[in-house]
């Protein structure tokens, strides 16, 4: 019934099947929306946050989605600036994922603040010294860029494309996309960084504080770097999931391998920097404030050295290693393991840089504070995921997201290996 909208020559499941799927996910969305309104109308007492946990699950989710959304800017950078042409076959999807991540991030922020109707003060009364101000500005700006990057893809919808105006618009936008990609990359570099800065500048919190370059603590650069490194992992992961769900091959292996390779080398370099940073912090920064490393990883029910090792070794070194070696990289299973580990790693890193900071006691007579989110928090955190699934399925169904789709699926089995 909606065949008129479906890209030519593309096979899609029947509309009812599609509708049912969407309906199910929408239920989850409604649940999240309900929780969201509770938080807005009854206030943040609906959450389990407290004066020790001013930043909690939401801020983590925020940082996490932005980090994994980093795939968008980085792929864009490679595609349009460094002119790595193969990536055009995945750039659309990367952009969509980025769009979802960033819109979610903004939504979460709108729920997280105690006075949403005053949220615009962050722009109006901006404090240039605050990393959060930098985040807010770059985040909104980059979201705008992503929207612009997304538009042409939407306009390529079969019906929209019939309108000459839209058609030409899409065409011309493709032409100038490099400019936006560049802006996007620049903006993204800053807000990914400033998100890292958010933690790094907390000189009252020895677990978070880092020395740095000029006004930027090392976490600034580590966050940007890690986003660029692990973002593509997530892009690949979601692509893989979409392929499994649709039961079609959507992106050629050479593209995947290329992105995986780049990601791999980024991860390796990042993890080396991260290790150096951790050692310096543990050996110099923290002790100079009277803290030993053990202080941060003992005397509590949850945060132990395991979290440090998992983040750096299991979810950093391992995926890095897998992805830089051709043999392992081109082994689908290992590659999948790597990108999963990588995605977990980046999320874990953001978790540590938000929640563990809040948990660690600073005053000698203070105690560890642990926290478990309320259902309202969980619901509002799942909300973006569900919304993301819907947007991806709709986009996949009606937009030519994967340029290689037809080629890969019309020509029967013959799957070339290059």
């Amino acid at each position: 019934m909606d065949s008129a909208l479906i890209p030519e020559g593309a096979k899609r499941c029947s509309f009812p099947k599609f509708a049912i799927g969407i309906a199910i996910v929408s239920a989850v969305v409604l649940w999240g929306v309900f929780a969201m309104f509770l938080c807005w109308f009854k206030g943040l007492n609906q959450t389990n946050m407290d004066d020790y946990y001013g930043f909690a699950l939401w801020i983590w989710a925020d940082l996490a989605v932005i980090a994994v959304g980093g795939g968008a800017f980085f792929t864009g950078l490679l595609r349009y600036i460094f002119k790595i042409d193969e990536l055009k076959n995945i750039i659309n999807f990367a952009v969509i994922i980025g769009f979802i991540c960033y819109s979610s991030a903004l939504l979460i922020l709108a729920i997280d603040i105690g006075q949403p109707l005053r949220g615009w003060f962050i722009f109006w009364h901006a404090n240039v010294h605050s990393m959060l101000t930098e985040v807010a500005f770059c985040l909104s700006a980059y979201f705008a860029v992503l929207t612009i990057e997304f538009i042409p893809n939407i306009l390529e919808n079969r019906q929209a494309n019939k309108v000459p105006f839209f058609h030409h618009l899409a065409h011309n936008m493709h032409g100038v996309m490099a400019v936006f990609a560049a802006t996007g990359a620049f903006l993204s570099f800053f807000h990914q960084g400033s998100l890292g800065g958010v933690a790094g500048v907390l000189y009252g919190r020895p677990f978070a504080v880092r020395e740095g370059l000029l006004i930027w603590p090392w976490t600034f650069f580590l966050f940007t770097w890690s986003a660029a490194a692990f973002g593509p992992c997530f892009t690949l992961l979601v692509t893989k999931i979409t392929e499994t769900v649709t039961g079609k091959k959507l992106v050629k292996d050479n593209v995947v391998h290329l992105l995986a390779k780049i990601s791999g080398w980024m991860i390796v370099t990042y993890i080396i920097a991260k290790i150096i940073d951790t050692i310096y912090w543990a050996m110099v920064t923290a002790p100079s404030l009277g803290f030993t490393l053990s202080h941060f990883y003992s005397n509590n029910g949850f945060y132990g050295y395991w979290i440090l090792i998992t983040e750096i070794v299991l979810c950093g070194v391992v995926p890095g290693a897998i992805l830089i070696m051709k043999s392992t990289r081109e082994n689908p299973t290992l590659r999948l393991v790597a990108i999963i580990l990588g995605t977990i790693g980046i999320c874990l890193n953001r978790w540590v840089m938000v929640l563990q900071i809040m948990a660690v006691p600073v005053m000698s007579f203070d105690t560890w504070a642990l926290y478990f989110p309320s259902w309202q928090e969980i619901a509002t955190t799942i909300l973006p995921v569900a919304y993301g699934i819907i947007l991806i399925s709709v986009a996949y169904r009606y937009l030519p997201v994967f340029p290689q789709e037809q080629e890969l699926n019309t020509i029967e089995p013959v799957s070339k290996t290059e």
Binding site: G43, L44, G114, F121, H125, S130, G204
Partner: protein, 286 residues
């Protein structure tokens, strides 16, 4: 207004922990002075608004060698690294809803500017900042005792100790009216100071040698040679500040004869304390 800019105060406090009895007068005086709300269950101290909070410290020894001391903790009104006014909380507020008064050294706020991002709370190692998780509500009729000198805060904003700034304003109003260009030590005292039955809290201008707080603390005008971020270290060996090593430069000082108490004021690596405890204040350059 002009003359206040060219003569900068630095209001601060010194609390004698040997005198403090942990009676709680300071907490209640603060709450009733500043229209702090209360709710049915206040036993979860992590969401209970008490601008002045009294911590109970023990020496960790077992019976019968245990010792207790009470440590009242208002907002420390940090001067930030090098005492340049970039307090941990002020520097992070995205909307300038809290700033550093260079004429008073007081970290001030606009509750109506704050939009509740709570970044400042994450930045404060003293947990001196509190978020209004609930709408403030008073039992029927009880709102009649609210003071007009401090605006009640609405749900969704962060609040903290203000060193009873409104008392400073009132004192200045009187001074202006009487044509004086400055106020006397006794004219501006915080609610906790005046309430303390043990007289454990001394409040005044750290910049003014005539003030008692200055005489007790003897703040060192020079940076600590061992940590350039630390300014205004006390030259009194019995006086210390909380987490001084972080370079937050609080304006709240503590006084105690007991070494174990002074040691709990900060974090030290094994054996570090014994090396530096006697350097306390030795950094002074006369």
């Amino acid at each position: 207004m002009k003359q206040n800019n060219n003569k900068a105060h630095k209001f601060g406090m010194v609390i004698d922990l040997d005198k403090c009895t942990g009676c709680g007068s300071c907490m209640v005086s603060c709450m009733s002075e500043n229209n702090v709300p209360f709710k049915e269950d206040e036993s979860n101290k992590k969401d209970s608004i008490t601008w002045m909070r009294v911590y109970k410290l023990t020496n960790g020894k077992s019976f019968p060698d245990t010792e207790i001391v009470y440590m009242p903790r208002p907002c420390q009104h940090c001067g930030g690294k090098g005492d340049h006014g970039h307090s941990p909380c002020v520097s992070v507020c995205p909307a300038v809803a809290t700033d550093y008064g260079y004429d008073t050294g007081i970290v001030s706020q606009i509750y109506t500017r704050c939009f509740g991002c709570r970044y400042c709370m994450g930045a404060c190692p003293y947990h001196a900042r509190y978020f209004n998780w609930w709408d403030p509500k008073w039992p029927e009729g009880m709102e009649n005792y609210l003071s007009p000198n401090v605006s009640p805060r609405m749900r969704g904003v962060v609040e903290k100790c203000s060193f009873c700034y409104h008392r400073y304003q009132a004192a200045r109003d009187t001074a202006y009216y009487e044509g004086r260009d400055d106020i006397e030590e006794h004219e501006y005292q915080t609610a906790c100071t005046t309430a303390c039955p043990a007289g454990a809290i001394v409040f005044g201008d750290l910049n003014n040698p005539a003030h008692k707080v200055h005489q007790i603390v003897k703040p060192d005008p020079h940076p600590d040679p061992r940590n350039k971020h630390v300014v205004g270290k006390s030259r009194n060996p019995k006086v210390f500040r909380l987490l001084e090593r972080l370079g937050t430069n609080p304006k709240v000082y503590y006084l105690s004869e007991r070494e174990w108490v002074r040691k709990q004021g900060d974090n030290y690596l094994d054996g570090e304390w014994d090396k530096i405890k006697n350097h306390h204040g030795a950094a002074s350059h006369g």
